[in-house]
């Protein structure tokens, strides 16, 4: 039952085959027994059970609030949740109890969802491994899967050193969905932070168009690029979540005012009218041969099914990383200024002056990565650098946007690209690279380009280069669909990028693709022990 999709379990709740409280209890028990994954920072056991009990009552009265009523979900720890600690995996916010719910959290709760807890991430969502938070790294559930264990030649005999990262920064959310402790989770996506861990953990990761979902209550990283991300087990579930969350929010002036109509995804059978674009610049140096082959096979799949598959060019792709780097650090420098210890969060004992108190507080509260970005951002915003860097980056952003406009105008509907350079790296390798290229770790972009240029083959085990997050500075919607397992038995996904606000088309195509590839379900010992009964007759591989 825990392995079912959100829609399947929702149907079961409606038909009375399972009660919300039972579902909640099982999820909580599974969270406990998968604690070693470190996916959750806070588990809100009491409030979750209370929400489940209220849902029980509603189902008994035959008045569920909707498809999400009674469904256990998890939320990344950079969304404000009233009465529950929100830390952003940083010392700066340890102990901070939010006084309000983020709009998206409120929407979930209003529809009866059961909030199990807050998931782990990289500190302040800066990072691509979910290894840099103060609560420690998140472990990829696939590290413990039968599929991975069968393929791995353990260097030592301990599982302890073999585990792989989840990718990031929404690693906790991805791991939570992947390990069946919840049916959907919220992440955030600024530079690939939802799609990257989705690819590594074998789940669907959707980054909707900027402006579609409210950011009110999402602790901001880059105001002009942040988007709440949706992580689910299948594309249909992502559409359900999107339907529940999208729409104008008076509290977020960057949400568009157009009416949003939730939709059900059609079962596409005829792709002959579809035009799929393959951007040639997305064959980034360092892309593993496995993923290249998979990408190629996917293109063939569409072609053989009758779609038009064309190579396209986005000439400024390689600068999108640089552009992102400058704009991101600049906005971060501004956004992190709010953390001074005065109204909330960590406060230093220094009392000499406000400035020295702020400086000490920030010194104590932020890690290297965060401090590094703040300083870089401030550098680019200095009067003498403003035109040269910040404005220049905004101009390059225009050029990148024009590239996409041109491609979409030429008749291409959807772009198909890799999501990551390779499958998930073992933690021990990932942090080694970190330490060596420490100065570039804080910037996944820098790291990516660095590796791509000089280090060739070694880089096979690196997660997402921001190369692939190209659409982010432009707000385009993108989704990762788990595609196949790698030679090491780990998930690999492919990314689809659509036109602004054309989520229905994007998800329809993604759903078709998902159906074709039949990505295998993870085989986890832990889950088998907790799961039972209700869905035993269902074949594990299909998510229809």
């Amino acid at each position: 039952m825990l392995r079912a999709s959100l829609r399947q379990v929702s149907a079961a709740l409606k038909e009375g085959r399972v009660a919300p409280t039972e579902l909640c209890q099982r999820c909580l028990a599974l969270i406990k027994s998968t604690k070693f994954l470190n996916a959750y920072i806070t588990v809100a056991e009491e409030t979750a059970m209370k929400q489940a009990e209220e849902s029980d009552e509603r189902y008994k009265r035959g008045q569920p609030l909707g498809i999400l009523d009674g469904i256990p979900v998890a939320v990344k720890d950079n969304f404000n949740t009233a009465g529950i600690e929100t830390t952003c995996a940083s010392n700066m916010l340890k102990g901070y109890i939010s006084p309000y719910n983020a709009t998206v959290v409120q929407k979930l709760l209003d529809q009866g969802a059961v909030l199990l807890g807050k998931t782990n991430l990289d500190e302040f969502a800066m990072g691509s491994g979910s290894t840099d938070g103060v609560f420690g790294p998140v472990r990829n559930p696939w590290s413990y899967s039968k599929q991975y264990k069968e393929k791995s030649v353990p260097k030592s005999h301990s599982e302890e050193s073999d585990w792989v990262i989840t990718g990031g920064s929404s690693g906790g959310s991805a791991a939570a969905v992947s390990s069946f402790t919840c049916f959907a989770a919220l992440g955030s996506d600024t530079g690939g932070s939802t799609r990257n861990p989705a690819a590594h953990c074998g789940v669907v990761g959707l980054k909707p168009t900027y402006g579609l979902i409210s950011r009110h209550g999402l602790i901001p990283l880059v105001n002009s690029m942040d988007v709440p991300g949706i992580l689910t087990r299948c594309v249909d579930d992502a559409a359900v979540l999107l339907g529940s969350l999208a729409g104008h929010d008076p509290k977020d002036s960057t949400t568009i005012q157009d009416d949003f109509e939730p939709f059900e995804l059609p079962n596409l059978t005829d792709v002959s009218k579809l035009s799929i674009g393959i951007p040639k610049e997305y064959h980034a140096p360092g892309l593993s041969s496995e993923i290249l082959a998979l990408w190629s096979k996917a293109a063939d799949l569409f072609k053989n099914a009758g779609a038009k598959v064309v190579e396209v060019s986005l000439p400024h792709t390689r600068y999108s990383i640089v552009c992102y780097h400058v704009l991101c650090t600049a906005e971060v420098a501004s956004n992190m200024a709010r953390f001074d210890g005065l109204e909330y969060g960590h406060r230093s004992d220094m009392k000499d002056s406000t400035e020295s108190m702020y400086a000490a507080t920030r010194r104590e509260g932020f890690n290297d990565v965060v401090r590094g970005r703040i300083l870089s951002g401030n550098y680019f915003l200095l009067k003498q650098n403003y035109e040269k860097y910040f404005v220049k980056a905004q101009k390059v952003r225009r050029l990148i946007a024009n590239d996409f406009v041109k491609v979409f105008r030429s008749g291409v509907d959807i772009l198909l690209t890799p999501t990551t350079l390779s499958d998930a790296a073992p933690y021990t390798e990932f942090i080694q690279e970190d330490n060596r290229t420490r100065s570039t770790q804080d910037d996944i972009l820098t790291q990516a380009a660095n590796m791509a240029g000089e280090q060739g083959q070694e880089l096979n085990c690196f997660p997402l280069p921001s190369h692939f997050t190209c659409p982010v500075p432009l707000g385009l919607p993108a989704i990762n669909v788990p595609t196949a397992l790698s030679e090491r038995g780990l998930p690999v996904g492919l990314q689809f990028i659509g036109r602004s606000f054309q989520e229905k088309q994007l998800l329809t195509v993604a759903k078709w693709f998902e159906k074709q590839v039949q990505f295998p379900m993870i085989q986890l010992e832990e889950v088998k022990r907790h799961d039972s009964g209700v869905f035993q007759h269902q074949k594990s591989a299909s998510f229809s």
């Binding site: 006084p99 568009i256 393959i278 082959a293 400035e355 972009l445 660095n450």
Partner: protein, 148 residues
């Protein structure tokens, strides 16, 4: 392809590759720098100090300073792009009007909640140490930059 766990769709015979078989060649002018601009001069201690003042965040050690240098070097690649006559883009929603609410009070009166998370407060005030005192100068501060 044998190596990938094969779903049926993967076993279909290969056609001509539809994805670029080779990565985009590294662009001229980069030499062995792999995606960085040319090595440039280091940032002066005065500017580093200035940044620490502006950001109220410290570099902490040489790694921190090196991080900044790498970031700048990376960002310098932007200068390879010709942006003459290009209008800057500051928002993806630039074609839409910014939404403004009616000037009606819809919420508030939450003093208690707002004060809840502050460590030091007196009645309904947040308490701060004395202001208008600038951070000590470089020589007097405890900062890594002192040694530079």
């Amino acid at each position: 392809m044998r190596a990938l766990l094969l779903g049926r769709w993967l076993r279909a015979g290969p056609g001509p590759p539809r994805v670029p078989p080779r990565p985009e060649s590294r662009h001229r002018g980069n030499g062995g720098n792999g995606g960085h601009g040319p090595l440039r001069q280091k940032v002066s201690v005065e500017v580093l100090d200035h940044l620490e003042h502006l950001a109220l965040v410290d570099f902490r050690d040489s790694e921190g300073v090196e991080r900044l240098h790498k970031a700048i070097q990376f960002a310098d690649q932007l200068h390879e792009v010709n942006t003459d006559g290009v209008e800057l883009m500051d928002s993806v929603l630039e074609d839409r009007c910014l939404y403004l609410r009616e000037d009606d009070v819809t919420e508030g009166n939450c003093t208690k909640e707002l004060l809840e998370n502050a460590r030091e407060k007196v009645e309904e005030y947040f308490v701060a140490p004395p202001g208008n005192i600038p951070l000590p100068k470089l020589e007097e501060r405890e900062t890594f930059l002192q040694g530079s």
